[in-house]
């Protein structure tokens, strides 16, 4: 009896491990291996000459350079902006701090693609509203600021990526034991010295963690460079890969170039993640929270109001102005005419929602692809996280290694990987179907699901499950009745963490869409390319409304969770 029972457990653990490994291998590992194989080998032979040839072409070299310049610039400015605002809301007596803290997260919710679209309308060299306004005002004929430039791309990405740093640093500042600063103060140090010698060094790991997330994101980002760069001939790695594949109609040579560039992305991402793990390890300072005393706040005195105005102005310019622009332009009868009541209507909205098949399909595709990918990824994520966090089974290290992989795969790389894997080479051809996007989404968002679910699972003490087993429950019953109900909030969080970004996904889908499988992101991008700026804005408005509704639902769910605890 005992032996049989034990054997039974062993079986379940083994089966879970096998399924988890299998999923990760098919969805993540094989595509990556295929990329590396295709990049490095030609006809089964190791081939460096070809790689050097591809890299030495001015166009690819230029794209690589641009990718790194953009990533470096965005990382630098996001860090400066993020740290400054984080410090402002957690270490000064800025008025309405709690509200400001929430408001600074809003740029995160605005899709970078839509932000870029809005800034194009505002600051494109000739037609941009702001440029035109300034020209009219001063009777000039140049352009006040040309958004079609590297600095334009860096500025727009910074606007929507700095919250990565902001979130990390505010979190760390709030968790930090205030007596660490107080003891420096009683030692005779003034606030500036404390900030320089104590607070900043202690924040360094969090700042670095946030900055590296920005770098990772920006390095492989498609939307902003695609809208603001290509017009002026500025390409980064993802837009270059897209251009080559698109122009050649998906030829193998283009895909091969893609794999070589992807390999560079994979190596860079792995390097960034490695540096991050080093920084985090070095910075694992034990910062026990003492008595819940408030930290010292810098009295801003005369700067109080100016800094509050500055923060509000910053948010108005980066969030409100672009959003309003999108909604207004989306309602215009034609692009370029004035914003008057007579020139605006709901005709566009009606047209893209009910009449035009292309946009109708795009909205529908995005909704069902995001929902189903989020659901499947959530379930699979629980399975894999459970095996990693809770199971004691041999061979787990393979899973742990595979589980880290999704974190280091940029969207472009995933797209190339699934193209190589699912276009008939292995007997299954999903190319041009919605399935290939579905598989790519799972690979792309697995990291989110794993993170959210393992965090939830680590909160569930082993003894809870053991207590269920001691009461006579089988492994499966304890899982179903104890573990799953306890990690449900983590699962719901994972679902939305995947659903919302998937709704606006562009980087991956743009390489995978077929005539009938455009997503919202792809459709907005394509409409903009075709000069249908107004329809692009209308569709962007629809996307924004869906995102806002999604965020409100998340807020309701997290709030009711808190009430449930009280």
């Amino acid at each position: 009896m005992m032996i049989k029972k034990h054997f039974g457990n062993f079986g379940l653990a083994e089966i879970l491990l096998a399924i988890s490994v299998l999923i990760l291998v098919i969805v993540v590992a094989i595509p990556v291996l295929l990329i590396l194989w295709t990049a490095l080998f030609v006809d089964g032979k190791f081939n460096t000459a070809d790689i050097l040839n591809i890299l030495s072409q001015p166009a690819t070299y230029e794209a690589l350079k641009n990718s790194f310049i953009i990533a470096a610039g965005v990382t630098f400015f996001s860090t400066v902006v993020g740290v400054f605002f984080a410090w402002l809301v957690s270490r000064t007596d800025l008025p309405f701090k709690e509200t400001m803290k929430v408001l600074f997260l809003i740029p995160f919710m605005l899709p970078t693609l839509i932000g870029a679209l809005a800034w194009k309308m505002l600051l494109s060299p000739r037609a941009g509203y702001i440029n035109k306004f300034i020209n009219d005002l001063f009777g000039l004929d140049g352009s006040f600021f040309n958004i079609y430039s590297l600095s334009g791309i860096i500025a727009v990405e910074t606007m929507y990526l700095f919250p990565f740093v902001f979130i990390q640093v505010t979190g760390a500042l709030e968790r930090m034991d205030p007596t660490l600063e107080e003891s420096a103060r009683i030692s005779g140090a003034g606030l500036l010295t404390i900030t320089r010698k104590i607070t900043l060094p202690l924040m360094l790991p969090s700042i670095a963690a946030g900055a590296l997330l920005v770098a990772l994101y920006s390095l492989a980002h498609f939307g902003v460079p695609a809208i603001l760069g290509t017009e002026a001939g500025i390409y980064n790695i993802p837009t270059k890969i897209y251009e080559q594949i698109y122009q050649s109609g998906g030829s193998f040579t283009a895909i091969r170039t893609g794999t070589v560039l992807s390999t560079i992305l994979i190596i860079s991402a792995a390097l960034i993640l490695y540096i991050q793990s080093l920084v985090l390890k070095a910075g694992r300072f034990q910062v026990i929270a003492g008595k819940s005393m408030r930290p010292m706040l810098l009295k801003l005195r005369g700067l109080k109001l100016p800094l509050l105005m500055f923060s509000i102005l910053y948010l108005s310019i980066t969030v409100i102005m672009p959003t309003v622009t999108i909604f207004l332009v989306g309602a215009l009868k034609t692009y370029g005419i004035n914003f008057t009541w007579e020139n605006m209507s709901f005709t566009n909205l009606k047209y893209i929602l009910f009449e035009w098949k292309m946009t109708k399909d795009a909205i529908w595709n995005s909704i069902y692809l995001s929902l189903s990918a989020a659901f499947v990824t959530m379930i699979v994520g629980v399975l894999i996280s459970y095996t990693i966090v809770k199971m004691k089974v041999r061979g787990k290290f393979i899973l742990e290694f595979l589980g880290v992989l999704p974190f280091s795969l940029p969207g472009t790389v995933i797209a190339i990987g699934v193209i190589l894997m699912w276009s008939g080479k292995f007997g299954v051809n999903l190319y041009n179907t919605a399935w290939i996007i579905f598989v790519a989404y799972i690979a792309r968002y697995m990291a989110f699901s794993l993170k959210s679910n393992s965090a939830a699972l680590e909160q569930v003490s082993d003894s809870l499950e053991e207590a269920a087993r001691a009461c006579g429950a089988t492994h499966w019953q304890s899982l179903k009745d104890i573990v799953i109900p306890l990690v449900k909030p983590g699962m719901v969080a994972a679902f939305f963490l995947i659903f919302l970004p998937a709704m606006r996904e562009l980087t991956t889908s743009v390489l995978l869409y077929g005539p009938k499988t455009r997503t919202i992101g792809v459709a907005i991008y394509a409409l903009n390319e075709d000069g249908e700026t107004v329809y692009a804005a209308t569709l962007a408005s629809v996307a924004l409304i869906i995102i806002i509704i999604g965020q409100l639902i998340i807020k309701r769910i997290t709030q009711s969770k808190i009430q449930g605890v009280q």
Partner: protein
């Protein structure tokens, strides 16, 4: 001559009066403890002395110098007060090694390199940290971390040392050891200590005088001996040590446990100042003696061995009385009837404080 002086110090947080008209005079070289339950205002008081909180009313001065004053609208920031301070959660900087942690206040004061070196070495030697100068705090135990904090506090040779529950994050054995080390350091460096704690044993062992506080109000300032044996009021009596608070009724010079006249009168004198009919009789568990036949009658409900003492719970009617005796063997068994006599008692008016 008083060294640290608090005059009518008051602090409010919104509608809550955290500290209410506090007057303290602490002499030079004294070890002065502030003791009380959490939220009584002791930490707030210490933080006002340190300068982390300003005062709503009152004045704090050290020596001849005024540090905070609501009358003169003056407030010296903490970094200018030249105090040493040790916090409950160690507050040792994890990114600096032991040497640099301790040298920090000296570096801030822009001392010469040799002086910093010399003073830091001395602080390290006195706190028993020799050999770990280049270690980082995270590799050290809680006790070692608190030694770093102490060394950092004494490095500048402060005249006043503020200690905010410095030992409560340590395990009990280490806690006792560190008490003596703090006392030793005080002898060597001759500073005045203001010590905040909720641990009465700690306060008793360390202090020259103890301030007992409750809800922002001073209950008693006295030597440890007097705090224990001559508590000023019912709060101090029940807060320090173990106590029985018995509701009694007085009639014709006899004292009964209220509602339990059957148990007989308590064989204790009624002092002349006690006039009310209903009083609270306070008595410590070891100030009660067992008698076979006389005394107030009760029944032994529970007997527990606590190592060197035996702890009895006696029911007198429906009132429970706790008695402690340090005999090797129990005098009464559970469910046996017994008699009690009270040695030293204190009388408090009903409803004065609980």
């Amino acid at each position: 001559m008083s060294h640290v002086k608090l005059t009518d110090v008051t602090k409010r947080f919104g509608p809550v009066v955290a500290v209410n008209r506090l007057n303290i005079e602490i002499s030079k070289g004294e070890c002065f403890s502030m003791l009380g339950p959490s939220g009584c205002g002791k930490t707030t008081t210490l933080r006002m002395v340190a300068g982390f909180e300003d005062l709503d009313e009152g004045e704090i001065s050290v020596g001849e110098k005024v540090f905070s004053s609501s009358f003169k609208k003056y407030y010296l920031p903490p970094e200018k007060r030249d105090f040493g301070m040790v916090f409950q959660a160690f507050a040792v900087w994890p990114h600096l090694n032991v040497f640099n942690n301790i040298a920090f206040p000296l570096q801030i004061r822009k001392m010469t390199k040799t002086e910093i070196e010399e003073r830091t070495r001395r602080a390290i030697t006195y706190t028993g940290l020799s050999g770990s100068e280049h270690t980082y705090p995270n590799e050290l135990s809680g006790g070692q971390k608190q030694r770093i904090a102490l060394a950092r506090a004494i490095a500048i040779n402060p005249t006043v040392m503020l200690l905010d529950e410095p030992l409560s994050n340590l395990d009990p054995k280490l806690r006792e050891e560190m008490r003596f080390e703090i006392k030793d350091l005080q002898r060597k460096f001759d500073f005045t200590i203001i010590y905040v704690t909720h641990d009465q044993a700690e306060a008793m062992a360390l202090s020259d005088r103890i301030l007992v506080m409750s809800e922002g109000v001073v209950q008693q300032i006295d030597t440890p001996l007097n705090i224990y044996h001559k508590p000023a009021n019912q709060f101090v009596f029940s807060f320090i040590g173990l106590s029985n608070m018995l509701p009694v009724e007085i009639a014709d010079g006899s004292i009964w446990i209220e509602g339990n006249h059957n148990a007989g009168a308590i064989p204790t004198e009624v002092p002349p100042e006690v006039k009310a009919r209903h009083m609270t009789l306070a008595v410590r568990p070891y100030e009660i003696d067992f008698v076979r036949t006389a005394g107030v009658r009760g029944i032994v409900k529970r007997v527990a061995y606590l190592g060197d003492i035996i702890d009895y719970r006696i029911m007198i009617g429906d009132v429970e009385v706790r008695v402690q005796k340090n005999r090797k063997r129990e005098i009464f068994r559970e469910n046996e009837p017994c008699g009690l006599e009270f040695n030293q008692v204190a009388w408090y008016e009903r409803g004065s404080a609980s």
